[in-house]
């Protein structure tokens, strides 16, 4: 059955290509239906590192993968952000060598809800729990539900769980911790602080194996040394600490601080997460935003001073159907917005109106809006939800040389 499922999965992949429709998870769905244990059997014998949490999964997964590769390890990873089991299976079916799957590590990014289901089948050797924020409550119901999912992941993990010392929702789940110096706490409000819950979190953990101590634009200082990052945004400095923490845990004696920091300096943003695309009339930066915490951090630390800004808000399943989260974003750092688009462009415009942030155009037709926006000279930034980002990226691929991801 193992081979039959593989064969049908590959056929489904071929069919998807012929139809030229999206559906990156479809081949995985077919293979899984035919032979449910397929994923578990392919991964058997390969140490699995599972990465989950509300924000920073894709970027952190990329950093962990590239750090391990820099230390000479071979790594399988689901780099397209298809972060649920069928998506991973689909990526496995892409490989030529899936029959004799042979890697030093599988570094897998999983959505929080799917992570809990994944660990029922495959127990990870290591897991990295980043944070818990309010996100897609239309799917998860409550933030406490998300925390419960991560607990299940921690309990199923065979060797070590690395978690965020500064997030009380995941702190106690870890045996190893990463974190930031209290002096930086205003840059990293947790969910309670974002919602004004004043009960300050008193508990302290002094034993972070990697701690972020200082941020000066792209120069960051950890307790293990300094680095100049190509990844913009305060959150990516913390994601780097998380990645260094788990990689040092996994590699143990083989880990070398200096070498790790050198590799870190060369890492480029993941697709759509601060990724810059060069066009004739200036750079365009794509910044994925999908919940209040992420949007807030992006506006605080990634908003450029003199670029033009576009915002694109969709409400497909992958974006979250409920757009009320826009009202929890402090939009005041946005002085002026050039273009508002996406299926829920008018909801975003209403939000900006209420905060008295001015905007020039609203157009819920994303193709037209992007076309117009790209004609503006100078550097540009687009803050966009997940499906809007995929669409914009596919349109940009026609204009610039970019790595195709989906």
């Amino acid at each position: 059955m193992f081979y039959v499922a593989l064969l049908f999965g590959k056929l489904a992949k071929f069919a998807t290509k012929l139809r030229k429709t999206g559906g990156s998870a479809f081949p995985g769905l077919v293979a899984e239906k035919i032979y449910p244990p397929l994923l578990k059997e392919i991964l058997a014998g390969t140490p699995v590192i599972l990465i989950t949490g509300t924000n920073g999964k894709t970027t952190t997964t990329k950093i962990v993968t590239e750090l391990l590769e820099g230390f000479g390890k071979t790594v399988f990873t689901n780099s397209t952000g298809s972060n649920f089991p069928r998506g991973i299976l689909s990526e496995l079916l892409n490989l030529k060598n899936v029959r004799d799957f042979n890697y030093n590590f599988a570094v897998l990014e999983l959505d929080e809800a799917w992570a809990a289901r994944f660990v029922e089948k495959v127990q990870p050797d290591y897991s990295l729990l980043l944070n818990v924020f309010r996100d897609q409550l239309d799917r998860f119901g409550e933030i406490n539900t998300t925390a419960r999912y991560l607990k299940e992941v921690a309990l199923a993990t065979k060797k070590k769980v690395v978690s965020n010392a500064n997030d009380k929702m995941v702190r106690s789940l870890g045996t190893v911790h990463f974190g930031f110096n209290p002096a930086l706490s205003s840059h990293f409000p947790n969910d309670d602080e974002l919602y004004m819950l004043s009960k300050k979190d008193q508990e302290k953990i002094s034993s972070c194996n990697v701690r972020l101590n200082e941020i000066n634009d792209d120069k960051v200082k950890f307790n293990i040394g300094s680095a100049k990052l190509k990844l913009s945004g305060n959150h990516n400095a913390l994601n780097s600490a998380a990645a260094l923490s788990i990689v040092s845990t996994v590699l143990s004696d083989e880990f070398n601080k200096k070498k790790a920091l050198t590799i870190l300096e060369s890492i480029e943003p993941a697709f759509g997460r601060g990724e810059k695309v060069g066009l004739r009339n200036g750079n365009v930066q794509l910044i994925l935003v999908k919940n209040p915490a992420g949007f807030r951090t992006a506006l605080e630390s990634q908003l450029s001073e003199n670029g033009s800004v576009m915002i694109a808000i969709n409400d497909d399943y992958a974006d979250g159907r409920d757009v009320s989260w826009l009202w929890d974003v402090d939009v005041l750092p946005l002085k002026k917005v050039k273009m508002v688009s996406g299926t829920r462009a008018y909801d975003m415009a209403l939000r900006l109106d209420c905060a008295r942030v001015s905007y020039e155009y609203v157009n819920d037709n994303l193709v037209q809006a992007l076309e117009g926006f790209l004609n503006v000279n100078g550097d540009k930034q687009i803050f966009c939800t997940y499906t809007a980002m995929l669409k914009i990226r596919s349109l940009l691929e026609k204009r610039a040389t970019m790595k195709k991801v989906l």
């Binding site: 239309d138 159907r321 299926t343 008018y346 909801d347 939000r351 209420c354």
Partner: protein
Amino acid sequence: MTKSLKVMMLYPEEMNIYGDFGNLDWLESRIEAHGLNVEEVLHVPGNPLDETADIVLGGGGQDSGQNDVKRDLLKNAIKLNKMVDDGVTMLMVCGMYQLFGHYFETVEGHRLTGIGVFDMFTKAGEKRLIGDIITDWEGYKLIGYENHSGQTHLNKDQKPFATTISGFGNNSTRKTEGARSNNAFGTYLHGPLLPKNPKFTDELIRLATTRKYGGFFPNLELDDSIATHARGVILDRFS
């Protein structure tokens, strides 16, 4: 002297799950647009309740949030009921709507006592009721998003706020939505409710202004075209 309205938000820390500040921000900017001043009061547990408020807002919370506020709410039950009887305008959304009924019963059968402004009770169901919702409120379509496990049942003399057009509303029977007693409204609609339903926002302001000053002189020049477009997105989906 310029007229002013005092807007009080109940439990802004605990009962503020998703965009609830949007109702407050929007209401305040709308009151100002009608030429009145706004005074804002954030009521936190333990503080004395300001009974001179003209409009009271309450939001949704997680189950844990409801537990955190219940003692303060019960302590102020008589005052809040008296304010409703006196015609104070109120809008309670989701979690606070449930606590304005007689009780909320969890899946485990544990009862959280409410303050009985609305003659109704709520029991947690197995299935969450989630999605876009459109209701009919006196001929105007209210648009919002609902996300609740509670099944709310109105006793026979309790007036609903609106009737369900699409979505669920009070419970899985998809008939009524929310409750209204005097000038107090309870609803499951967030989204948040007020920005996308300017006509209802104006009604809250009209009720409060009329009670306080005897009349309301609306600014008829307000441009609601953006809100109309935002409403159109959801209305088109269900037409």
